[in-house]
């Protein structure tokens, strides 16, 4: 080969190998190339881990760039930022590059992509981070002879999608913004929407987000150092705030704007959204304004306000009922806003140029016409905790509170005191709260008190009227106190009881008497919360006392937990004039009087209440008249016919031991001083009656009343019933009356006879069957308990008129000293009765006092007898009535 050939081949190889070498050596000289390109520029770029470029670009592992913004008229200090890209790739348009061989200048597009992009100032106070960024650059490349190639970027665009900015524990996430710079636009960022979706504090989503604002780098020539954000909006606790323009003075580092809080339905605010956990429900709309000034790392809030539209309110439904509380937050005369003059100074504290917390001071506001103030407090983003003490002065929140039950009740009162609170990872916790309020309430319907709703009128009493009162409340040292409270009942308020026909038969008056006498006065109570101090909520009732109806009521101290199955409350009653308040209606009438004293152990449970052996006694008593409806009767009937069925029952000194179970079973041990039944035909007096009444023992038979162990003094003797079941629905009962030590004379007096006198006492067992108004006696037996005397006193005329046999009987019975007396009695439902009497004894004045045995059978209609006995009294009454009519 000739040398020329060899040289030619070598040159050809060089032409081929040199670009190949340059291509292969690209990673080694890339940094030199970049340094050369950026020589004299205010930023520096370092690329590492670059690969061998392909025809359309090359990749790299890391790219870091730092650039310094020099001081200008708005900033006296230069600012340095560091940008880093990881696992990036720069790609270009290969076709366009090719034209460089034929032209000195070309315009081409470069695209920079990476796994992540990070921008941090130095020192690093915050960090901007974007995953999968894409930056497009339009670059002009110029080649001049004898000079290196010049790279002239003329357009850069970077669509930020879902980026984030982190500063300490705070993180702005979901940032969107489109950066678009160009030489034609003099490298000014045109106005574009900055959108920040979320703010996190220590990983927790903050209730502030969805910030939008139009923002560009072009300045107002008159305000060259003012950064302008326009059409700003933000979501604050799901409440949209808007500011038309926010101007931030870069030189003074201050801004001032008013965030207008849009009208928002209350039920869209997080606290009032109806849910399982939150029983509150918002009604109507609220709006507000939040004037904000920012200066020297300090945010000033000046005269912020919140107002509700007419009809706006917060509802608190009462569980399992259609009753609720409402808090009216609409405008009131003289008070258009619920919150106004809210002022606060918030300082962004920094430590070592890092944000160390928010310091809030001078917090004050007018809330519900009262004053609300807060102690200075810090928000530490590391601890994520706020601790402060709120002071309240006469906050008239109660003036806006209503209760919607049977009637619309209202409240009045101011709230004053201090509330130390902490808000952090554990949620909202309170310190030693101290609050006081003179709570006044009015028109709270009695029917809203559990047990008095009258929903099932037949079984439960029905209340009527309303309660009013004042309860001076104080909460301090975990103890709620009531001092000298008063509760009054409205006119004609009371509790009413109804019979099966739905007729009112008994009422208990709760109206406050004329004058200033309250139903309950001098109410004092002390209830300690968390007395046991453990996790379960414990309450300690230290005091509950009141004066009522001339007496006092006092609860025994107790400790209980809301988780307790049963909560026992023992009330001691002393001289309460409760009987005066009882009124009878319909077939019943009468008056009772006297005070009640005793102990009432109540047990409140989840299924209702029970009473464990309540002991109530009274020195009083009264008369109850049972008067069934009168039928129209003829004049003859009025004089000689059926007497009025009216009966007066009077009693004295009741003493009861009362037990009520959760299921409604009632047992009552009772004793009375006396019980008197008085009718037109006579009077029956039971002295010291006592027994046990049981009601609602069997759900299947709710009308069954059982009287057991009944015992009473009767005609100087005793009457007893071991057990009787009375069916109130059918008016049926069947039992045996046990009589003991009954003076014979008293029984004879009851018969109405005035001719027979007797001494001695009898005992007996009389089976009685009652069905409606019909009484039946079946084989009753009676016998004398000792010897005695029977005298049948007759006049000589009667003896003369009598036959021989009867005359002998008359004589024998004129002074009969019996040693044995036995009797049996039966009475059919129609009143027809057979009375047999067997007497053994003697008459000392008859036939030398020889023993005599007498058998007497008396057949009569006992009911007719009772009627005839009442004729005289009926006559007297009719004559009196006629006399009165004539005198009218």
């Amino acid at each position: 080969m000739k040398w020329t050939h060899r040289i030619l081949v070598a040159l050809l190889l060089a032409v081929i190998l040199l670009p190949l070498a340059a291509w292969l050596a690209f990673p080694w000289y890339l940094q030199l190339l970049v340094d050369r390109i950026l020589a004299g520029k205010p930023f520096h770029v370092e690329i590492s881990g670059s690969g061998i470029p392909g025809p359309a670009g090359f990749g790299f592992r890391n790219l870091t760039a730092s650039f310094t913004v020099p001081p200008d008229q708005c900033s006296s200090k230069p600012a340095t930022y560091k940008l880093s890209l990881v696992n990036g790739r720069i790609s270009w348009n290969i076709g366009a590059l090719g034209t460089l061989f034929f032209s000195d200048r070309l315009q081409t597009a470069f695209t920079l992509r990476a796994d992540s992009l990070c921008i941090q100032p130095e020192p690093g106070s915050f960090m901007f981070e974007d995953r999968d960024p894409r930056i497009d650059m339009q670059i002009a490349i110029a080649r001049r002879r004898g000079a290196p190639m010049e790279f002239q970027p003329y357009r850069v665009s970077y669509a930020i999608r879902n980026a984030s900015v982190t500063r300490e524990k705070l993180r702005l996430a979901g940032i969107d913004y489109r950066v678009s710079l160009s030489s034609a636009g003099k490298w000014q960022q045109p106005s574009d929407t900055l959108h920040i979706r979320k703010l996190y504090s220590d990983g927790n989503l903050a209730p502030v987000g969805d910030f939008r604002a139009l923002f560009g780098s072009k300045r107002d020539p008159l305000k060259p150092c003012t950064l302008i954000l326009s059409n700003c909006s933000i979501n604050l606790f799901e409440w949209n705030g808007a500011a038309e323009r926010i101007e931030y003075d870069l030189r003074k580092q201050e801004t001032s704007f008013t965030l207008m809080l849009a009208e928002i339905p209350l039920n869209e605010l997080p606290w009032f959204k109806p849910s399982e956990k939150i029983p509150l429900k918002g009604l109507g709309r609220v709006s507000g304004s939040l004037p904000i000034e920012f200066r020297d790392s300090t945010v000033l809030i000046r005269n912020a306000l919140v107002a509700g539209e007419a009809g706006a309110g917060i509802l608190y439904p009462v569980k399992n009922s259609n009753r609720w509380f409402s808090l009216d937050i609409g405008p009131k005369p003289g008070s258009a806003e619920i919150l106004k003059n809210l002022n606060a100074t918030i300082t962004l504290n920094s430590r070592n140029k890092n944000l160390s917390g928010l310091a809030v001071r001078d917090f004050s506001a007018e809330l519900f016409e009262g004053k609300l103030q807060s102690s200075p407090f810090m928000f530490d983003p590391v601890k994520n905790e706020v601790m402060l003490t709120m002071s309240m002065e006469d906050i008239r929140i109660l003036d806006r509170l209503n209760y919607h039950g049977e009637t619309r009740g209202s409240f009045k009162g101011g709230l004053s005191g201090t509330v130390p609170l902490a808000f952090g990872k554990k949620g909202l916790t309170f310190g030693q709260v101290s609050l006081a309020s003179a709570l006044t309430f009015s028109d709270i319907a009695l029917r809203d008190i559990p047990g008095l709703t009258g929903e099932s009128r037949l079984k439960t009493p029905l209340a009527s009227g309303t309660l009013n009162g004042t309860l001076p409340l104080e909460y301090r040292n975990s103890t709620i106190k009531v001092q000298s409270g008063i509760i009054s009942g409205s006119k004609s308020s009371g509790i009413f009881f109804y019979d099966k026909e739905n007729r009112q038969w008994l009422s208990f008056g709760l109206a406050s008497n004329t004058g200033s006498r309250a139903l309950f006065s001098n109410i004092n109570a002390s209830l300690g919360l968390d007395a046991a101090g453990d996790k379960s909520q414990h309450y300690s009732l230290k005091l509950l006392s009141a004066e009522t109806l001339g007496g006092t009521i006092l609860a025994a101290p107790m400790v209980f937990s809301v988780n307790d199955k049963d909560i026992p409350v023992t009330l001691k009653l002393n001289n309460i004039n409760a009987l005066d308040r009882i009124k009878l209606h319909g077939d019943f009438k009468g008056s009772l009087s006297g005070s009640v004293s005793g102990t009432l152990p109540l047990v409140m449970g989840k299924q209702g209440f029970m009473i464990r052996k309540a002991r109530l006694r009274s020195s009083g008593g009264g008369t109850i008249t049972v008067a069934p409806p009168k039928l129209k009767r003829s004049a003859t009937e009025r004089i000689f016919g059926v007497p009025d069925q009216e009966a007066d029952y009077s009693f004295k000194s009741p003493d009861i031991l009362f037990t009520r179970h959760y299921d409604g079973k009632i047992a009552m041990d009772f004793s009375l001083g006396e019980l008197k039944r008085k009718t037109g035909s006579g009077e029956i007096l039971l002295t010291a009656p006592k027994g046990i009444l049981a009601m609602w023992q069997n759900r299947k038979y709710p009308d069954l009343v059982t009287l057991s162990n009944f015992h009473a003094g009767f005609f100087d003797g005793t009457i007893a019933i071991s057990s009787v079941e009375y069916d109130m629905a059918k008016n049926k009962a069947e039992t045996v009356l046990h009589l003991n030590n009954i003076p014979l004379q008293k029984l004879l007096d009851l018969q109405g006879t005035k001719k027979i006198y007797a001494t001695g006492t009898v005992k007996g067992s009389i089976p009685v069957k009652i069905s409606g108004t019909v009484i039946e006696i079946m084989d009753g037996i009676m016998s004398a308990e000792s010897d005695g005397q029977i005298i049948y006193a007759t006049t000589p005329e009667e003896r003369a008129l009598a036959n021989q046999g009867l005359r002998t009987t008359y004589e024998a019975l004129s002074n009969f000293l019996y040693i044995q007396l036995a009797s049996s009695i039966s009475m059919a439902p129609d009143g027809k009765s057979i009375l047999t009497i067997r007497l053994k004894g003697n008459n000392p004045d008859f036939q030398g006092g020889r023993p005599v045995e007498l058998n007497l059978n008396v057949e009569q209609n006992l009911l007719d007898l009772m009627r005839s006995l009442s004729i005289s009294s009926n006559l007297e009454r009719v004559i009196t009535e006629k006399t009165l009519q004539k005198n009218k």
């Binding site: 001719k755 006198y757 005298i791 006193a793 007759t794 006049t795 000589p796 004129s814 002074n815 004045d845």
Partner: protein
Amino acid sequence: MTGTMIKSTALKALLALLLFAGFSAPAFALDLETARAQGLAGEVDNGLLAVPPGAGGEAQGIIATINNQRRAEYAKIAAQNNLSLDVVGSMMFEKIYTRLPAGTWVQVKGQWKKKAG
């Protein structure tokens, strides 16, 4: 009015006769006068006898017997005059009272006391 007066006069006469008769009692170991004098028996305002407070039961027998007799007699009077036994007994007590020596136990309206001199 006149009838009532006649009836009342007749009744009084009958009572006087009864007293004069002195309730001729059978012979007892203890007679009524002695029992009353010893404080073992006292007169009650219903016209009957009873054991006064603090006394033993020695006079129980005679009291029961005399009371039976008195009751029989009072009953007759009551029947004849259409009065109750109690009324007759009360009237009898008034008569008996006047004849009682001072210091005798008497029970008036449930209260025991000794007749003043």
